[in-house]
Symmetry: C2
Subunit: 192 residues, 2 copies
């Protein structure tokens, strides 16, 4: 399907552009220019600028949900579940760093009612993580913590990845990152 290929090339190009300049600052003419065509042509591939953003954001959001659901439904231990959550974040960063960066930086540009849908999905995701931490606390695998603070702090440890991964030409070793972050999350920086 030559259309599919072309459309995907278009999606990839505009994705990088939006990442560099931000969604609002990227104009349809910018996108056209980096594809060596005229503005009007862009509308052969996409309905509107807004739907472009929606495609990216809900696409990557769904991937996160699919991945975490598999983990939660498994019968792994709480610790193992947290390790797996770390892994899927790093996997997705390697496979789709630009989509991930968009997820963090550009969701504000969604309009209602899509914005509310997106935020609701995000809360659901956070709650899934929260449930794993809670489970682990109740099983005494994890220490007693404020569950809200622990959830946000934990998720934050994974939120800088895309930044370094989209910028650097030299890619950091994902396995190394996974080990280092897991170690950080489970036992911190202090020498015991």
């Amino acid at each position: 399907m030559s259309k599919m290929t072309k459309r995907e090339r278009f999606l990839e190009t505009s994705l990088k552009l939006i990442n560099e300049k931000g969604f609002k600052a990227t104009t349809m003419r910018d996108i056209a220019h980096s594809l060596n065509c005229e503005v009007a042509n862009v509308y052969n591939y996409i309905d509107s600028k807004q739907s472009l953003l929606e495609t990216y954001l809900f696409g990557i959001s769904n991937e996160f949900h699919a991945a975490i659901d598999t983990i939660i439904d498994s019968n792994a231990s709480s610790e193992e579940k947290i390790r797996l959550i770390i892994r899927i974040h790093i996997d997705l960063m390697v496979k789709k760093p630009y989509e991930l960066a968009l997820l963090v930086n550009e969701w504000r540009n969604l309009k209602e009612p899509k914005l509310s849908t997106f935020l609701a999905e995000r809360i659901v995701y956070e709650n899934k993580v929260k449930s794993v931490l809670k489970e682990g606390m109740e099983a005494k695998d994890f220490k007693p913590m404020d569950i809200e603070i622990a959830t946000y702090t934990f998720l934050s440890t994974l939120r800088w990845l895309h930044d370094k991964y989209t910028d650097l030409p030299i890619k950091i070793n994902p396995k190394e990152i996974e080990e280092q972050i897991s170690e950080f999350v489970f036992s911190g920086i202090s020498k015991k």
Copy 2:
């Protein structure tokens, strides 16, 4: 100084607006409207929309630098320095949550050469944190870690604060957050 008061009221109002809608999405007419005046009047307080952003960003950036310099120049232990860095981040979140949110979300909208200046300052800040972690590793206070990953992971644990603090009407207890995050950073979530 009635001008100072008025100008500060103007700065505060536009700061919140920009946080809600994003810098690009906030128009000068939006700002005027939320001040119950006309657009032209806004230019009595500020040179341009761009300089408005610069004022905020470099203002809060300077505060972070001033604070961390005091810590680094002290003769506290590495662990104590990290604890103090956590504290200043939380202090600033309490005092200036909106400026902090801007620092995280809107720096992309700076234009050259201010953008480069800002990014250079940020790298300097990260390097200051890095030096504390390195110092602690060499003194065997901290475990052996990849210094880059440790720095970014540590700083990330502090980067979600503003989000919750600007949104919620009920403020979380800063002292509690400080303790929880310190515990997370130094010894992780595992029950030892």
